[in-house]
Amino acid sequence: MHCEPFEYEKPVSLREFESLYAAKGEDAKILAGGTDLMVLIKEKLLAPRLLIDISDLHELQGISFDSRQGLTIMAGTKIAEIERSALVKEHAPALAYAAANLGSNQVRWMATMAGNICHASPAAETPPVLLAHDCELIIGKQGGERTLPISRFFLSYRKTALEPGEYLKAFRLPPLPERSAVAYRFKGLRRAMEIDMLNIGAYLELSEEGQSVSDIRLAMGSVGPTTYRATATEQRLKGMQIDDEFFATACGGVVQEASPIDDVRASAEYRNRVIGVLTRRALEECLEIIASRGNKA
């Protein structure tokens, strides 16, 4: 499989990377894990002139937590590390679960969550969970950085809000309030090595008395050109009592807001049908988690 020639650079510091990327960003692609990028190049869907390898930049590695800012995952962290991290398992277990179900073990040791996000595939595994967490993205560029809620990151099919010269530096998942939980559900044909036919991330926060919804986020994948939130449904659900009508509104709502297409993996009809089922299951799981925490406390 021949491809157009490209050059390869491996900066040794973040500063060097930023200046290189600022200078050559237009023709360059960032190589973090390569599990998407190298396949796209091999299949001749991309032909960058330069690959900038950031996989060993220590400034971009690591997972940390503090009670004010929450969980910070640096962009270069491998999916396998997220999957195994005690901090992630504690503060964002649904993310650990989504990470554990991404590709194969080999892919998880190579790929990064930044890559999973920046390729902006509507079927990607981690975006629904990150959207459910209302994660904040720290976006870097030479001489500065900015933050962006992930809900404003995916613009359209495989298009993100990154400006030329910008790169994804870190994910920040705010601490989960009491009586809240995130759950992730997905559907593929096989049990592993799948590109999901559907996936969903759900965030549910209950009011103090524990009977009604104080906040909710529902993020759906593979039902549109990007992963996105069913915001109209979320609005309707806020304040509702947790009862059959709540589930019916949630499931009916996501189906309304989903706009899937037929493709080689599944039909639009199937996706419309099952997104509601996954939503209900994710919300039930949120309730279970909240209840079990309550019991422990």
């Binding site: 390869y8 491996k10 190589l31 554990a100 073990n105 080999q106």
Partner: protein, 163 residues
């Protein structure tokens, strides 16, 4: 333009001139001549090309060779010492987990990486760890058995003779 790189493969250093576009699998197979690493799909879907990079399983068909300088690469040839097989290799033979042998090198390396991290994996953990290594001959059952057995061999719970 070719770049001069140094790759550490199975503890040995190789000085190589490679194009930036060269994939690790091709360099390992063609330039270094270690043909135990197999190419089954070329785009990271089958796992036949699995090698260990710093102990972690990686797909050498979608890894650039130039990106591997300074890392320790282990191929299937690096697992055994002469005729002395690694317990994972031993277990694959003992349990009949080898048929055509094409997926075997990748399968063995993925298994080794698993056992290094988790010496007593459950059947489900084994299946998950091997999900990226496709095999069409065995139906996986004997492979899963072999990995369980390898864990026992490694921990000394059983010896090869008892197998």
């Amino acid at each position: 333009m070719k770049k001069l790189i140094k790759l550490e493969i199975n503890g040995e250093n190789f000085d190589l001139a490679v194009e930036p576009t060269a994939y690790l699998i091709d360099v390992i197979r063609e330039s270094v001549g270690l043909t135990g690493t197999k190419k089954g799909c070329g785009i990271g879907d089958c796992g036949a090309c699995t090698v260990l990079i710093d102990g972690r399983p990686a797909l050498s068909c979608i890894t650039l060779a130039v990106a591997c300088t300074g890392k320790a690469i282990t191929t299937i040839e690096g697992l055994s010492k002469g005729t002395e097989l690694h317990p994972v290799q031993r277990a694959f033979i003992d349990k009949g987990a080898v048929q055509c042998g094409f997926c075997t090198p990748g399968m063995v390396l993925s298994s080794k990486a698993l056992l290094d991290e988790n010496p007593h994996p459950s059947q489900d953990e084994i299946k998950t760890a091997l999900a990226g290594n496709l095999c069409r001959c065995t139906g996986y059952a004997k492979i899963v058995e072999a990995v369980e057995h390898a864990g026992q061999l490694l921990s000394g719970e059983v010896t090869h003779e008892q197998a």
